[in-house]
Symmetry: C2
């Protein structure tokens, strides 16, 4: 896809006026990436950075989408404009849930102050992360108060995306062993709020107790003590408490000036993704264009030259 500059400028203008169709197009532009995306981001960047970003992550099947749905209901009652970005799984094996999940969201589709969009994870990891950052900017420029980033997969990249939010909700369910895994693997640190979903299943309180106990032992990265909440998203039970916790966390971030620290961390991660992508792009180009680089490739395949030494040569020729 290619978009001309007049089109991009028109989208940027209409986006800031609150035109939903322009919003959809803007996200399509940033999803496609490239120069058009870059120009569009540049145009709206000053109006970004205003929403409260909430990451929702957890294993497939724990009910993240149902929880998000219930949270959106709460936020709408508080008259917040809410956008949901559902990041499709990086796993091709677990892609099945998406359609069903999106159908559940239908409750909100007629509400003009709710916007739901799936983003596919095409290509390499860095790609979707970057498109996500930029999509969030479009949603902020449009004027959403809250942007929920729901990651469907549970890989490092999804986790990275979720944890670049201001507030990260880690969703678990009783008896899945997820609680234990979360504790062992040290990902407790990324959760600002823990939700034991499907709280009507046996073992919910036990799971919650175990998480609380391990949080007491954990070295927390700030003075925020992550609440551990039991909820039944299916019928909305306990979701009000999650929404309250989200607001409390937002307040904590503002009061402690953590919000700017977090945003700096996020910017650093994004810059890292961008320079990596640029480097990959340059290499790709040189592998197509340069006879010299093609020779190096042959040498590697023929075991005459190791890849790292070749990379060093290629990089010096790229500059």
């Amino acid at each position: 896809m290619s978009f001309d500059q007049a089109y991009i400028e028109d989208i940027a203008k209409r986006l800031e006026r609150g035109d939903r169709r322009a919003l959809a197009r803007a996200i399509t532009v940033v999803e496609a990436g490239g120069e058009a995306a870059q120009n569009l981001v540049k145009l709206v960047y000053q109006r970004s950075g205003k929403a409260h970003l909430i990451g929702v992550t957890g294993s497939p099947g724990v009910g993240k989408s149902t929880l998000v749905d219930a949270l959106v209901t709460q936020m709408r009652q508080a008259d917040k404009k809410v956008a949901v970005l559902a990041i499709d799984p990086s796993s091709p094996f677990t892609g099945g849930a998406i359609l069903g999940d999106r159908i559940r969201m239908q409750d909100h589709t007629l509400d003009p102050n709710v916007y739901i969009r799936s983003m596919a994870n095409r290509g390499h990891t860095g790609g979707v992360a970057m498109a996500t950052y930029d999509a969030v900017r479009m949603l902020e420029a449009f004027g959403f108060d809250v942007v929920i980033i729901e990651t469907v997969g549970v890989g490092q990249s999804e986790l990275a995306i979720a944890s670049t939010a201001d507030t990260t909700i880690l969703v678990l369910m009783p008896g899945s062993g997820d609680d234990i895994q979360a504790i062992k693997s040290g990902i407790m640190e990324i959760g600002d709020i823990f939700v034991v979903n499907k709280g009507d299943l046996p073992g919910a309180n036990k799971s919650a107790t175990e998480i609380i106990a391990s949080l007491e032992l954990a070295k927390l990265p700030s003075n925020w003590h992550p609440p551990v909440l039991v909820a039944v998203s299916e019928n909305g039970e306990g979701v009000d408490k999650i929404w309250q916790a989200v607001q409390d966390h937002r307040q904590f971030l503002t009061d402690s000036d953590m919000i700017s620290k977090r945003r700096l961390t996020k910017i650093k991660a994004e810059l890292s993704d961008i320079v990596a992508e640029i480097a990959r792009g340059k290499l790709e180009q040189s592998m197509q264009d340069s006879a010299c680089v093609q020779e190096l490739l042959t040498d590697i395949v023929d075991l005459k030259l190791d890849p790292r030494s070749a990379a060093a040569s290629i990089l010096s020729s790229l500059n």
Copy 2:
């Protein structure tokens, strides 16, 4: 960790003499990355590239490890020296299977011609991929005939790692819906051999039939027609046929000269990871050292400058 050059040279020598302790150390060195890893790879690179690399991938719970275990038994009967690299999940949520899986492998731990090693996915995606490429080289330099790369997770990165093998086995199980997902998501293309594992469960033949039907419709990337095999790894049923298919595929690759094409693709992917890593490293360094880069960061946070424009400035200053 830091290793001096004399230590690295000693490891390289002993590795090529078939010293198992040196092998363990060599993999530890490449896992740690950095200059030592680079130097070690350089020393053994000429002796790499000889093994048949088999990727085994699929969702958690389909019985990949049991299948690998049974395949190793087959390969040992054919007097092949076999190494297994188990790539730990990129997902912190599904890490639980590992320990149990490794315990199952105990059958082979006393066999000096079998080597099993888990590799943790630390840090970002590129990290484990690169460590895996280099670990394979150590195993090849040591003299293994076959290296099985078992990915435990199912993210894009694990899939990428598995598909850089010469032969990729995609493992599914009946009734999980994985077959349908595999078909839908187009990952059929990466499988050279399909295994419906746990073939004693209901629906195994139905799953196999569905995969066969969709393979007939799929545009295959070569003249190889991926066999779809039903197996019960737990008791070894059908595993001989998988081993036969692996050998057939190897023969096909050699006869059609696909093996060098595949290795070129793999080298390109590795180079891309390497240059991305180098670019990230340079950025990281400049964010610490350069007052100018720190100022740019502040400008981004203050919404005065968008990240891509900043990245362009930073990159030009890095060169």
